[in-house]
């Protein structure tokens, strides 16, 4: 019963303090022993990233589909900056996959192969360049990323390390821990699915090794812009790390998050024999 009480009140320091007094034990979750006053002070030190954000290349899109000329330029620039340099072994893998996708596209250009469905599949890590908008929820213990296309990232900033290797397995967003350097959130991520998304042809994944490691430096540059400087390392698959700095713009024409990934509601571009088709009626 006391354990239940603790579980239910794990975010209430006062309740926890009472239990501590009674038991003089260590049953309270880590971090819950901070007093409200101390926690408020911790909040006060955190930057204010309130608002809704999107990849800057999406600014000026029309009808949810058409990119502006400037948006197209930015997408190309990001793709060029993020171009991986594969080791010979992985270059051969990349060329084989690319050829397979290219051949499939050439065989029926009107019905692209379904190698990846950017909206209906869960967005690939790090999800910040996916379609849609996102928010940051910052607490002293963790920073949470939530997007309108269903991506959620938990970045723990309570001083913890990654779990031991025998407690990790590949997941969509991996395991992220971070710390604050001034107003910059420095994030270290491991154990995401060993792959990177290649935005060429109809889009496809390139497998990477289990040494894939991602770091980010996330900061608000000014009121309307955030920047994520990211470094992707994989000494087995890449000859050098991929460094890319991507800018995100504050969304100024909308003020609420609405999900957009209910693909079962009205799916009219279904995959038929592994290719996108269109239902016109």
């Amino acid at each position: 019963m006391i354990a239940n009480l603790i579980a239910r009140n794990s975010l209430r320091p006062a309740a926890c303090a009472i239990v501590i007094a009674l038991l003089a034990g260590s049953l309270c979750p880590a971090g819950a022993q901070t007093s409200s006053k101390e926690r408020l002070k911790a909040f006060a030190k955190l930057p204010d990233w309130t608002g809704i954000w999107e990849l800057d290349a999406f600014v000026g899109q029309a009808n949810g589909q058409q990119f502006s000329a400037e948006g197209q330029r930015k997408l190309k620039a990001y793709a060029a900056a993020g171009r991986p340099s594969f080791t010979p072994e992985y270059q051969a893998k990349y060329e084989a996959i690319r050829k397979k996708v290219a051949d499939a596209v050439a065989a029926d250009p009107a019905h692209p192969p379904v190698t990846h469905d950017p909206l209906c599949d869960a967005p690939p890590f790090p999800a910040t360049a996916s379609p849609g908008m996102f928010e940051w929820l910052i607490t002293p213990e963790e920073t949470v990323f939530v997007s309108t296309v269903g991506a959620v990232r938990h970045i723990y900033t309570d001083g913890r390390s990654h779990p031991p290797k025998d407690e990790l397995w590949p997941t969509l967003m991996g395991d992220s821990v971070g710390h604050w350097e001034g107003d910059t959130l420095v994030v270290d991520t491991v154990s995401m699915k060993p792959r990177i998304y290649m935005g060429e042809l109809s889009g496809f994944y390139m497998p990477m090794s289990d040494k894939l490691h991602h770091t980010e430096r996330i900061r608000m540059v000014n009121h309307d812009e955030m920047q994520i400087e990211s470094t992707t390392e994989d000494p087995v698959a890449l000859t050098k790390p991929i460094h890319v700095t991507i800018t995100y713009a504050r969304v100024t024409d909308f003020n609420r998050m609405v999900e957009e990934t209910d693909c079962e509601e009205n799916e009219r571009d279904p995959a038929v024999n592994g290719r996108f088709s269109t239902v016109t009626h």
């Binding site: 290349a57 009808n63 400037e70 930015k74 009107a110 950017p118 379609p131 009205n266 009219r268």
Partner: protein, 134 residues
């Protein structure tokens, strides 16, 4: 494009839109972005749905006014993205006379990707692509 050539209401215009990898629910390769067609017709249904909104529009053939109009399915963005650009669930209603500019499907079906829509009042609905401000 089968049938579309027969529609004198169709105007083909060269366009050069790059399909971005990080947007849209699927590849846009199924649409011919080098062509723009203009349809003049009547709204049968406006589907304000995820993952994409659709306009079902009945397009008569001016050369054959007695023939049954042809139904086109015109694909748009997700509702939340459309709303950001000035659209609302009630922006179109059955019976509305509209003009749609679209990138047609490559496979000849009567469908396409919306570029712009002019409503019954003669005004373009929502905001069109504009240069980024940053």
């Amino acid at each position: 494009m089968r049938n579309t050539i027969a529609l004198s209401a169709v105007i083909a215009v060269a366009a050069a839109l790059v399909a971005g990898p990080a947007s849209a629910h699927h590849s846009r390769a199924m649409f011919d972005s080098s062509k723009q067609l203009t349809l003049i017709g009547t709204v049968k249904e406006f589907q304000w749905t995820n993952p994409h909104c659709w306009i079902q529009v009945l397009v008569p053939d001016p050369d054959h006014p007695d023939a049954a109009p042809v139904e086109w399915g015109v694909e748009m963005g997700a509702p939340v993205e459309l709303m950001r650009k000035g659209w609302k669930p009630g922006s179109l209603n059955p019976g509305d006379k509209i003009t749609i500019v679209l990138n047609p499907l490559r496979d000849g079906q009567h469908g396409g990707l919306v570029v712009a829509v002019t409503g019954p009042d003669g005004k373009v609905i929502g905001r069109s692509a504009e240069p980024a401000t940053k």
